[in-house]
Amino acid sequence: MDDHALILKHPLRVRMFHYILVISFLPLALTGLALFFKAFDEPAMNLVMRIHVVAGVVLTLGSLGFFVIAYDRVVLFIRRSFAVTVNDVKWFAVLGGYPQKFLLRKKVAVPPMGKYNSGQKLFGACMLTGGALLIATGWGLWGFPHLLPHGMAHAFGEIHLILGLFLTLFLCVHVFLGIYMFHDFKAMFLHGRIPYAEAREAAPLWVENELVALRKE
């Protein structure tokens, strides 16, 4: 096998959706924090809220669009993110080897992973369910706070706040590691391809079980 062969890891539709997530979720997180801390004066808070709402609309439309245009990728994503095995437990037991790598400069063995490692699966599952709940509660709070039953409106507010804070924190981890793993960064943001050797080391089960070679022309 040619170690320098390339695998299409993220097709175009997926990369497009990721761009939409970046331009909507980052403003949502930042404006969300500003709203939570009431960071600015009145006209600025109004602008912050408007940005939050517009970004939320973009996130909603982008998600619905991806769902319609790329339903097969949605199914793949759910299948991968929610499949939990004992390897995931073992991976978390060593925290994926990251703290050891960064803090102790030591390389630790991790169990064999699929396309998404255990941490990425957790992130994917949290983003999918958390994001869906943020979208649903967000529309409820922007559209119908005046008429929802009081307990429900209050619960929407609490859920929106707690999930927003949690996903914002988790997002920081994702952004850091996503840039650190520079091959994957280029794959997601540019051309979608990663070298075979990288994939075989980080995601051996994916390489073994889920790839097909393209026929030579």
Partner: protein, 106 residues
């Protein structure tokens, strides 16, 4: 479409029909069931008011006297004290006047 510049890709047929259907079912359930629940709660949102109103109408149905002019204590108050509606005492104690506050928000 032109030469592809990668040599491997994901198997497009790796999801079984059963997996596909069960995930689709799960998505449908997780969106439709909460939506139905929210809609039903929103539809019922005024029921606590109907219940409170019904409580007062029940109080009315169970009352021994159901008309104000039939309340013996009302009669007693007029006989022993206020004389009659709009009497001098009634005007002094039970009636009032109002003020023009519109300049306060002009």
């Amino acid at each position: 479409m032109g030469k592809k510049d990668y040599q491997y890709m994901e198997n497009p047929f790796q999801v079984t029909r059963r997996e596909f259907l069960s995930i689709t079912g799960a998505i449908a359930a997780f969106t439709a069931l909460p939506a139905v629940w929210v809609r039903s709660r929103v539809t019922k949102r005024n029921n606590y008011l109907r219940a409170r109103a019904a409580g007062l109408y029940l109080d009315d149905r169970n009352a021994k006297i159901r008309v104000s002019h039939g309340n013996p204590v009302v009669t007693k108050i007029y006989d022993e004290f206020a004389h009659a509606p709009l009497s001098e005492i009634s005007e002094a104690l039970f009636h009032t006047r109002y003020i023009n506050r519109s300049k306060g928000i002009a």
